[in-house]
Symmetry: C2
Subunit: 425 residues, 2 copies
Amino acid sequence: MKEIVIGFLGCGNVGGGVWELLKNFAPEIAHRDQVTIRVKKVLVRDVNKARTCSVPKELLTTVPEDVLCDPEISMVVEFMGGEQPATEYMLTALKNRKTVVTANKVAVALNWHRLQEAAQKSKVGLYYEASVCGAIPIINVLMSSLQSNRIDKLMGIINGTTNYILSRMYDSGEDYKIVLQDAQKLGLAEPNPASDVEGMDAAYKLSIMASLAFHARVLYRNVFRQGITGITQMDITCGKEMGYVLKLLAIAKRQGNTIEVRVHPTFLPQDHPLSRVHGSFNAVYLHGHACQDMMLQGRGAGDMPTASAVVGDILHAATVAVHSHPTFANRAEPDASLTFTDNWSTRFFVRVSAKDTPGTLQKIAGWMAQENVSIATMLQKDAVEEGRVPLVFITHEASEKAMQAALSHMEKDVCTVESVIRVEA
Amino acid sequence: MKEIVIGFLGCGNVGGGVWELLKNFAPEIAHRDQVTIRVKKVLVRDVNKARTCSVPKELLTTVPEDVLCDPEISMVVEFMGGEQPATEYMLTALKNRKTVVTANKVAVALNWHRLQEAAQKSKVGLYYEASVCGAIPIINVLMSSLQSNRIDKLMGIINGTTNYILSRMYDSGEDYKIVLQDAQKLGLAEPNPASDVEGMDAAYKLSIMASLAFHARVLYRNVFRQGITGITQMDITCGKEMGYVLKLLAIAKRQGNTIEVRVHPTFLPQDHPLSRVHGSFNAVYLHGHACQDMMLQGRGAGDMPTASAVVGDILHAATVAVHSHPTFANRAEPDASLTFTDNWSTRFFVRVSAKDTPGTLQKIAGWMAQENVSIATMLQKDAVEEGRVPLVFITHEASEKAMQAALSHMEKDVCTVESVIRVEA
C-alpha cells in the first residue's frame, strides 16, 4: 500500500472540511485505490486560535518551511487564497518536488505559467479544480472527459454573489442597493463587494476555464469586464416584459484563431437553461464539436462543496502515473497566432429616453439602419416625463462597434441612452 | 514517448467517430500526455461492407482472436452492444491483460462483477463512461470528482427516446401512439421500442450509476421498473394544469442501509431543474453530503457524443498508474447488509373517474385519511360523462403501500382509478 504524506497551507473552514472528508473516506480509498493519505503538517498563522475543525494541535505550525521543505511530504494543499504569499509558497513546494493542489483562482489565473513550468520541471502535478466553481467538476470535465473536443463556446454563471443579487432583483422588483445590503447582511456579499460585483472574480475563473477549453493561454487581462453596479430595476423589468432574464455571464467563444472572452451583464431568453440557474448556484454551459451541448450546475462556493473538489484532486493526484501538463499552461503570454477581439457580434438590449415628438422613432431606426443594426423587437412605455418617453429595443445580431456607432449618432440627435445590455441565446 | 496499441471490437458510427477523434487530437495528446495511441486491429462482421468512416481496410478483421490475443494490443475498445458475444470477448481481453473500454450498458449492468474481477486479477482497467448517458461525464464525476461524497439521492432523465415522446405530448397535446410513430419515423425510436418505452434501457443505466453513487452493487433486477406505454394525454394535461411536467425518471435514494431504485413516469414541479430538460437531452441531478446539489445535462446518445466519452476513457486509461477497482463492483450480489425497499415514500398524482353523486368526494377523502394519505391539491373537471366525473388529486408524501391500500378501498367503493403517477420534488 502506497502512503501519500501531505501538508496543508492554511486551515480555515475548507481545510477543516478536507480533513474530515479524508478521515471519513480513508478505508474506502485504501481499498479502492491502494493508497493511504496522511496529513503531516498544517501551516497556520496562529497555533492557539480556536478552530472548529478537528485537526490535532500537534500538526499545526507557523513555519512555512515545515510544510514546504519536509522531504517526507509529497503533496501540498493550499487554502490561503490571494496572490501572495500563496504563489511563492506553491512555487517553493513545486521546486521541492511536491505536487500542489490549490483552491486559489487568483494565484492560478495570474501565475499559471510559473506554477505549471515549475511542476513540469519537477515532474510533479498541479491541480486546481476547487479554484473554479466550487464543487462543479468543470476542470476535470474539460481536461479529462472532453479532451478530444474542439470547444467553440462556453458560457457560465460563475459568481454566486451577483447571481443572488440579480435573481432577487428579478423576483422581488427591489433596487440594486437594497439587495446588495441584504446580501451583505446574509454573508453572501463581502463588506467590500467589488471583486464580485465588478466581475473580477468571474474574470479570473473565466481565464482559467477558457484556457482549458481552447487549449490556449487566455490571460486575466484578455477578459473584457463589466460589472453589475450600473444595473437598474428598470432594465430588469423591461427585459422581463420582453421575455428575458438578466445574468452576469462569463462568455468565451472561439472561431478559428479568434477568441472573445468577456464578463458582463447579459440578457438570456427565459427558456435558456442558464436562465433557470437561481440564487447562489453556479452553472457552466458549453458546446464542443463531439460532445455537443452540455451544462454543469451546482454549488459554486461554500466550505464543503469546495472541500469536495479539493479531495477529488488529492485522490486523483495520488493515483495518476504521469501528471498531465497542458501544453499552453506554461506560456506567460497567449500564442501569437491568436487574436482576442473586442468587436464581437451579439444582440443588444438598448433602453433610451427620447423626445416625445413625431419622427423620433423614425430617426432612431434610421441611425441604427445606417450602421446595419436591425431592430428585432421594441417596447414603448407610455409614461411620458418632462416631454420624454422611454423606449426599449432588442436588436438582431450586430457587431459591437456598429452598435456603439449607432448609439453615438442617436445620442447626438434625439435621445439619451440609458442602458445597453448584451443579449445571448 | 509511450505507445498504446489498441484494438476495436466493432466499427459502426461510434467507432468511426473514435477513430477520427484519436487522429485529430494525436499531436495534442502526444505533447500533453507523452503518449501516442495506435489502432492496430478492428473486428468487423464483414470486411467488404461499405463504411462511412475512414478506418483503413487493412486494419479490418473478422477473426476475434486477432484483437483479443494479439500480445502487442494493450487496450480493447468495445462498440458491439448487447450482452453477448460482447461480454465473452471482453472477458477474454481482460484475461489476456488488456484494458477494456466499453460503451455497452447491458454487458456492464449484467456482468460487471465478472468483468471487474477479471480486470482486477489481470491488473488492467475497465472503463465504461460511454455506457451511460452518452457525452455526459457522469461516471468520471461519480468515480473521481465526487468520490469523497456520501450521495443520498440521484434522479435522472437518462433515456432520450422517452423524453422526446413525453416532451412532445406535453407541448403539442398529441396522443402517445401518434408521437411514438413520429419518433420512429425520425429514427428517435426503434421499430421495436420496448427497451426504451418499457424502461429497460433506463434501468440498466440506473443500476450502473446507483452502484457508483452508493459504492454498493445495485443489480438490474433490483430496479423497480414501469414504462410510459400507459400514459395518456389526459394525465399530462391535468398535471400541466396543476403545475407539473411528466418525465420518465430514474431515481436512486439511500438512507442508511436502505436503498430504493426505480424507473417510472414521474411528475415534477415545473420549476424543478429536470423539468426544463427537453426532447432528446439527458440530465442527472444528484445530492451529496459535501458537494450538495449538482446537475449534469447533455447529449445522452448519438455517435459523436458517445465517441467523445469513449476517447475520454481511452486517454484516461492510457495515463493512469493504477487502474481503480471499485470495491463493490466484483460482487455478483448486493451486500447482505443492504435492504432494497419497494415501500418508498413519495407524493402521488391520482386520477379517478367517480360517481357524480353527493358524498363521493367525502368517501374518497375518507379512504385516503384511513390510510394516512393526505390530499395536497385537487382538480375537479366539470365534464360529466355517463354520470361519472373525473377527479384528480395530488397527495402529500405517503408510503407506496398506504397509497395502494387507499386506492384499493376507493375502487371497491366509489370510483375507478384511471392512473396513479408518482410525484417527486
